[in-house]
């Protein structure tokens, strides 16, 4: 594998690409807004410009910007959660949805939709995620320990059970099931600014916690026993990781619906690029995940405008081949994956 030596340069360029992607994608849309105008609007809080087009300003600041910020948050959250779950479960197939938290959020949201509580849907979804997390945690807990195997089993079974509950709800709802289907397909389009701020805070805290545990994550990968030998309080770390990763997943899923593939492919892609060290991996995944989701969302909303493709379709369509391409191109990297 071509190791990227200069990590600082790598992250700087990622940040640069993120900013670049954000500014390009913010000027793409059905309303053709000149770049000059876009820049003016974005800077209008710092510099006082005269004569800013109000319509443009609203579209940029209140429609496109929240959406792009949500894409950044979601991409970062799902990727980092993916990294955490892959390490925690020591399983390369793990993704943020593997432990059923997302299914809990989806069931909560479905109930909200079925009851016609449209504006409350994200909250009910988040409550669903928390409840599921609690149940899975307690199911997996054996004494004071949480064995990885039981956690994985409890999570997968719980997820399957909740998914079947959603199907039941959909068939009971009859003609109304399409609403739940729409929600499940995932979209970044309808989130209000306040919700985004709440989710941003949650996700930021979650990522900081996970990042601060990156040394422990590295050690866990060596095996729980060696971790204990190295003086890491493995159970506590696992609990913290489980809770924070589940929290950020639940928070994001409850407002965007299920956006697949991001949590799986981004960590692996980043690992192929800069190696398995978690401090780098978490930061890199967050940045790459954000960039990826911004691009995917821009494609989703523009490619068959005025219609929108569910963003999950784009992430899968673009993500899977790209991941495979990386895999084939840099076969050496397989060693890193197999080193779990």
């Amino acid at each position: 594998m071509i190791k990227i030596r200069n990590k600082a340069l790598f992250f700087l360029s990622l940040i640069f690409i993120l900013v670049l992607t954000m500014s390009i994608c913010i000027s793409i849309g059905p309303v053709n807004i000149p770049i000059k105008e876009t820049v003016k609007i974005l800077l209008s809080h710092i510099v006082d410009f005269q004569a800013i087009n109000q319509t443009y300003s609203t579209i940029i600041l209140k429609i496109r910007l929240p959406r792009i910020i949500l894409a950044v948050i979601t991409g970062a959250a799902l990727s980092v959660a993916g990294v955490a779950f892959q390490a925690l479960l020591r399983n390369p197939l793990a993704d943020p949805y593997v432990l059923g938290v997302s299914s809990g959020a989806a069931l909560g949201a479905s109930i909200g939709i079925a009851l016609g509580l449209l504006s409350l849907t994200p909250f009910i979804g988040f409550i669903g995620a928390l409840v599921t997390m609690y149940i899975v945690y307690n199911l997996a807990k054996t004494g004071q320990r949480i064995p990885v195997t039981s956690l994985l089993l409890a999570g997968v079974v719980m997820g399957a059970f909740l998914a079947s509950l959603i199907s039941l709800l959909m068939s009971l709802l009859g003609e109304n099931m399409h609403k739940i289907m729409f929600w499940l397909m995932g979209s970044l389009s309808h989130a209000n600014t306040n919700l985004i701020i709440i989710v941003f805070v949650l996700v930021l805290i979650g990522i900081i916690i996970i990042y601060s545990l990156s040394r422990e994550l590295n050690i866990i990968l060596l095996g729980e026993e060696s971790a204990q030998h190295l003086g890491v309080s493995i159970e506590l770390v696992k609990k913290i990781l489980f809770v924070s990763a589940s929290l950020i997943t639940g928070a994001v899923v409850s407002i965007t619906g299920l956006i697949g593939f991001v949590g799986l492919i981004i960590p692996h892609t980043v690992r192929l690029l800069i190696g398995p060290k978690h401090n780098n991996l978490i930061l890199g995944s967050a940045l790459v995940g954000s960039i990826f989701l911004i691009i995917a969302d821009t494609i989703a909303r523009t490619i068959i405008a005025p219609a929108e493709i569910p963003i999950g379709v784009i992430t899968a369509l673009v993500g899977a081949p790209f991941f495979l391409f990386l895999l084939i191109k840099k076969k050496k990297g397989l060693k890193n994956i197999s080193s779990f």
């Binding site: 059905p30 309303v31 319509t55 209140k62 449209l118 609403k179 005025p306």
Partner: protein
């Protein structure tokens, strides 16, 4: 294809059951259930799907499962004579049922027109042909009414519509909703080949709909929620508060209720057009005597697609006391109502038809109005007019007016006008004056007036006005206004007027001797007389005129050739010296002109008396004085009447050839002289310049 299915279905029905028509019916689509109930087959339905919730009775029918996956077992157990399914998505179920020897009719609907066709087909299959025909024609009429009203709309008048069935899910071209919006006179903002699809806020803002329709399934959405979406404040529909909920089932289901939806949408998109009513007549004129109440009737017809509440108001001055038999009333669609409008004519009202104001009829979404005119009876009336042109009666003239053709310069028009006081009692009309004005003849009006007279109630008076058309009139159409004015003993003024048309046409060739005069008219010792002639060309061509003055007894035979242009006159005079041996007596001098190559002529005769040579000096002086005065008078009057013509006539004074030749030579000499002087002056100037330069 559908026809074949229909045929097969009918065939199967006819062989499978003794009774020709199915008695036990199962519907496995909500739309079919609605159609079957609408055809009055409710009692025959033995099974429906879980989603069949309309009409209310459908909920109580046995359920056979959901739309996409009904229970075949349950259907079989219901022992149906026929099952109504839909084409396409239900094909696998249909196959299954057919394999079980169950008759299935597949309803195939992909447009609004298909709904009507299939209703008829279902009616035919179930023996409800007549009911189906009635239902279909009723629905078609309602669709036609809406379409007729929207047909006249231009593209700009069609509002842009965004329909939402779920957060940002909207209709593409392959949906009933799209067709409905088109038919209801709107334009779907998204013109894409899709059925329902997901869009986003920016697309909607970009499309800027004029109307937003919310057809959320089974949910009422607070329009405020939609309006408060980020960026939606720039959308016309939000700014103009045009966000509406509509019944989603009626939009989506291919049943008879689709027409309800169409009307609902049409009312939202074009309330003012869909909810209209007609007022007949559009202007109402009330006629009657002064100081009396008058009334008339208007008829209002609701031509809209909904019932309406109409109230009547007016902006007319309260002194007319306008009132209506009903100020407000409800008017169901298709119904008419007559309203009596009553007004009072004040005694001081001016006698002429006058616009009083507007009567407004205001419905829920539509308003219409009519104009109210008041026409007090004009009791000073022109009862009859007879016109005579040069003594001949004109048939085309009566009290309404008319036209007099072929009026020649110099013609006389006589008008005999009969004026009537139409009051039966009490009111005498006084100081009546009849005025006739022939407008703009030779740049001024020719006015004739009658004497003033009074008319007692019921009496009439005949007035004669005479107009002489001037000789020098231009060919044209002229207007002759006749006004009859008067005032009654209450101070009310009356005015009646009639306009006549006068068409003046000239003959092609016409020259007349306008005047001829001899001076002095009697002579004694003196033997010199003068004859003055004025000849005018009133035809349409220039003429060469030969003027002759003749008397064989006196031995006078003078001739002069004159050229007279169209519309011009020429004055010419002759000096005659009579022989001394002429006996005293009266003589006639013939003044004759020939024109148009001597084909046409005009003649006047002058009298000349020759007396004894006794009172010679006296009479001579007197005659001379007279002559001068006369001549001066003539010139003066002509100056006033026609100064231009005078000048031209003088210029065209005939001159002999000799005269003209010498005049020409004189002119040439004058030019040469001036030329020479000019050359000399120039030479002097040049010389002066050269000299000053040298210095």
């Amino acid at each position: 294809m559908k026809r074949i299915f229909l045929f097969i279905a009918m065939f199967l029905i006819s062989i499978l059951s003794v009774n020709a028509y199915p008695e036990r019916i199962v519907s496995i689509a909500p739309s079919n259930t609605e159609i079957l109930f609408a055809l009055g087959l409710g009692d025959n339905i033995v099974g429906v799907t879980d989603y069949c919730d309309y009409p209310e009775e459908a909920r109580d029918k046995p359920k056979v499962g959901d739309f996409s996956n009904p229970s075949i077992e349950t259907i079989v157990s219901l022992n149906p004579d026929i099952v109504f399914a839909v084409a396409g998505v239900q094909m696998p179920i249909v196959e299954n049922l057919r394999n079980l020897n169950i008759t299935v009719y597949q309803v195939d609907i992909s447009s609004i027109d298909d709904i009507l066709t299939e209703i008829q087909n279902i009616g035919d299959v179930t023996g409800k042909t007549n009911e189906a025909e009635a239902l279909v024609s009723g629905l078609r009429n309602r669709i036609n009414v809406v379409e007729e009203k929207t047909r006249a709309l231009s593209e700009n008048e069609k509002p842009k519509v965004y329909i939402e069935v779920w957060t940002y899910w909207t209709a593409g071209k392959n949906t009933f909703a799209y067709d409905l919006i088109e038919k209801a006179g709107g334009k779907n903002v998204f013109d894409v080949e899709q059925s329902w699809f997901l869009t986003n806020a920016e697309n909607v803002i970009n499309a800027n709909p004029d109307v937003i329709l919310l057809a959320y399934h089974g949910v009422y959405v607070d329009p405020q929620e939609i309006k408060s979406r980020e960026g939606f404040e720039f959308i016309n529909a939000v700014q103009n508060n045009k966000v509406y909920n509509i019944d989603s089932d009626a939009v989506v289901r291919a049943g008879p209720r689709i027409v309800d939806s169409l009307e609902e949408m049409a009312l939202i998109l074009h309330p003012g057009i869909m909810n209209s009513f007609l007022i007949e007549p559009t202007t109402l004129t009330l006629e009657g005597d002064l100081n009396n109440a008058v009334s008339g009737t208007i008829e209002i017809t609701n031509t809209g697609i909904a019932d309406d509440e109409i109230s009547i108001s007016t902006n007319i001055d309260s002194k007319y006391d306008v009132s209506f038999s009903q100020d407000s009333f409800s008017l169901n669609k298709g119904k008419s109502k007559s309203i009596t409008v009553t007004a009072f004519i004040p005694e001081d009202e001016e006698i002429k038809t006058k616009l009083l104001g507007t009567i407004y009829l205001t419905g829920k979404d539509y308003s219409n109005s009519l104009l109210l005119y008041l026409s007090p009876n004009n009791n000073l009336r022109i009862e009859d007019i007879d016109a005579y042109l040069d003594g001949k009666k004109e048939s085309k003239i009566d009290e309404e007016g008319g036209k007099i053709d072929n009026v020649l310069p110099g013609s006389t028009i006589k008008l005999i006008i009969k004026i009537n006081n139409d009051y039966e009692e009490d009111v005498e009309i006084e100081d009546i004056l009849v005025t006739g004005t022939l407008i703009d003849i030779n740049d001024k009006d020719l006015e004739e007036e009658s004497d003033e007279f009074d008319l007692k109630p019921g009496k009439s008076e005949t007035i004669t006005l005479t107009f002489d058309i001037p000789l020098n009139v231009e060919e044209d159409n002229y207007e002759l206004d006749i006004n009859v004015e008067g005032e009654d003993n209450n101070g009310v003024e009356y005015l009646s007027s009639v306009k006549l048309k006068i068409e003046v046409e000239k003959e092609k060739n016409k020259v007349i001797i306008q005047s001829t005069k001899i001076n002095p008219e009697s002579i004694s010792c003196q033997r010199n007389i003068k004859v003055y002639n004025k000849i005018i060309n009133i035809g349409r061509t220039d003429e060469d005129v030969k003027l002759l003055i003749q008397n064989s007894e006196l031995g006078i035979d003078l001739e002069k050739n004159i050229e007279i242009e169209e519309d011009k006159s020429v004055e010419t005079d002759f000096s005659l010296d009579l022989r001394d041996d002429i006996p005293n007596g009266k003589y006639n001098l013939d003044v004759t002109i020939f024109y148009k190559d001597n084909q046409k002529t005009d003649k006047k005769i002058l009298d000349l008396s020759i007396d004894n040579c006794v009172e010679k000096t006296n009479s001579n002086n007197k005659e001379n004085n007279n002559e001068k005065v006369l001549a001066q008078n003539q010139i003066k009057s002509e100056d006033i009447q026609n100064p231009k013509e005078k000048i031209t006539a003088q210029i065209i004074q005939p001159i002999t050839e000799k005269n003209s030749k010498s005049a020409r030579i004189r002119g040439v000499l004058l030019y040469i002289l001036f030329g020479l002087i000019f050359v000399v002056l120039v030479c002097l100037l040049i010389l002066a310049i050269i000299l000053t330069r040298r210095k």
